[in-house]
């Protein structure tokens, strides 16, 4: 078995037994949602080399869309989530086509500004409930049969969503399309000279990443029965960068590890240290940028490689 297969097996087995050995399912579901979000983000930053500093826009927008479509339109959860994912994809197309007009640092600033614009819109719109958020979203019945009000049912539903999203990303980065994305990351002028229409590739990667972030956001809304402004705030955009950075940019499993660490830390620290959480997050950011740019998984891979060479 290769290392990746081993990783997949560990992930699946771990995911299945985790709630059975007494880990709180709601916490785990939160982790899986953020893990999917971080993996979707990593597709863009780690594999295409585009730093979006506004990815919370897609998480938040899909959250509202899912909440609204399930609560007000009365859609079943699976359709609500699909609608929201599609919505995030469309939004990704709009944001992406604007942002890819500039490269590098400007790309980050544009995505951040667009996300902030959307944040202000949500704040003003009536249906989002403003600062209170969109509350009381019913969990409903999956395919009309499985009752998602039961935490364990919901857990496996969420885990299945994560796995399918994760697998889709894995397939994408190992497809010819993914190879082109990596070539853009490594050397864009060269990719252009080889005849690739890099803007199209970048845009498609952006849309895919936005839609999957939306999938994560919609699922999160179903889990917490709430869509709120927090998910659309720039802090969230920063958090997803942090998760990906801690785990390892451009590694398959890194963002998952990063998401579990960040969500776990916040969970542990929130009631103990209060507003120090932000300081600690900032310090971790600084530490990883200065000392461990490859992230945890990236450093582990490098360690294995060194051992093998010896």
């Amino acid at each position: 078995m290769t290392r990746t297969q081993l990783g997949f097996a560990a992930l699946i087995i771990g995911g299945i037994i985790a709630p059975l050995i007494g880990i709180y399912p709601t916490f785990l579901m939160k982790c899986w949602c953020f893990a999917l979000f971080a993996c979707a983000f990593n597709l863009l930053l780690g594999y295409t080399g585009l730093l979006s500093f506004g990815h919370a826009a897609f998480l938040g927008a899909a959250g509202y869309m899912a909440g609204h479509s399930i609560k007000v339109w009365g859609l079943p959860p699976e359709l609500g989530i699909l609608t929201a994912t599609a919505f995030a994809g469309v939004l990704g197309y709009a944001f992406g086509s604007l942002a890819i007009r500039r490269a590098g640092i400007y790309f980050a600033m544009i995505t951040l500004a667009l996300a902030q614009m959307l944040y202000f819109l949500w704040l003003q719109m009536k249906f989002t409930g403003g600062e209170d958020g969109l509350q009381g979203v019913p969990r409903g019945k999956l395919f009309g049969v499985i009752d998602l009000a039961d935490n364990l049912n919901l857990y496996y539903f969420v885990f299945a969503i994560f796995l399918s999203g994760f697998f889709l990303i894995y397939r994408t980065i190992n497809s010819p399309f993914g190879q082109v994305l990596k070539s853009i990351r490594e050397n864009e002028p060269r990719a252009i000279s080889l005849g690739y229409d890099v803007d199209k590739y970048k845009l498609l990667a952006f849309v895919l990443s936005a839609a999957l972030s939306g999938l994560a956001g919609a699922t999160k809304t179903v889990v917490f029965q709430l869509a709120s402004l927090t998910d659309a705030h720039w802090h969230m955009s920063g958090e997803v960068v942090l998760m990906t950075l801690i785990g390892g940019l451009g590694t398959v499993f890194g963002p998952v590890v990063g998401a579990f660490i960040v969500v776990g830390l916040q969970n542990q620290l929130a009631d103990k240290v209060g507003s120090w959480v932000q300081v600690i997050m900032g310090a971790i950011f600084v530490l990883f940028v200065l000392a461990f740019r490859r992230g945890i998984v990236g450093e582990l891979i490098a360690l294995f490689e060194r051992k093998r060479v010896r």
Binding site: L51, M109, G282
Partner: protein
Amino acid sequence: MFELLGITPQALYSQLLVGLINGSFYAMMSLGLAIIFGMLNIINFTHGAQYMMGAFLAWIGLTQLGPWLGHPDFALNYWVALIVVPLVVGALGILIERTMLQRLYKLDHLYGLLLTFGIALILEGLFRYSYGVSGQSYDIPESLRGAINLGFMYLPKYRAWVIVASLAVCFATWYVIERTKLGSYLRAGTENPRLVQAFGVNVPLMITLTYGFGVALAAFAGVLAAPIFTVSPLMGANLIIVVFAVVVIGGMGSILGSIVTGLGLGLLEGLTKVFYPEASSVVVFVIMSIVLLVRPAGLFGREK
């Protein structure tokens, strides 16, 4: 004419004044960002936090410092703060540059953005922890209270001072960079640091000082802002994102361009507040989107 639209001239003028003030802050902030980006190739995400620190240190100087030192009557007044605070924050900036930023110059510049983002989180978090999120108020200095009657409107003295001071600082900066020998080193360093170094100019020192200056400019804006806006840990973060949009609109290639774009957008925002208040918080971002569609390099930018 304005009455037809249901808007009094007073409302229009006062919003235009607010717009001009916001515009001068955008101009100072985007100028600092542009100078730093020119030399360091880093987008300084900490800029907003440094602006916030400027306002906070001024407030601390006025209300907290005396009691801390055991002399309750002692206070760092506004005029002293206007000089001292930018120096202190600038020195802290230099410390950040020397100890951390410096290690990242050879890497992709996304790491510079991430590092400064992390530092911004730390600073914001520290002030939040110490002073909470609710704002503190800073009294307008004695000599700038009251208003001048211009005939068509009352112009509060302090607001007039903010506009004059920020324009003076912006144009002084422009003059130094574009018209003096020091500025020519700086511009040459932006174009080709290695060549300038070969001519015997101490480029690393120049980079450090540039960062310090850009940061000091943000802190100066912060001190100016303290009496107008409430002093709160979040004041910088909200501003910096708009300033990023301003920078995208103007492009960072030109000093004068940053100043003009900043002021213009402030005014436009003020006008929007009069005619369609719902859109005032997003108007800058909408303009950014339009500029990206029409002129991707920005109004004053150069296509690279």
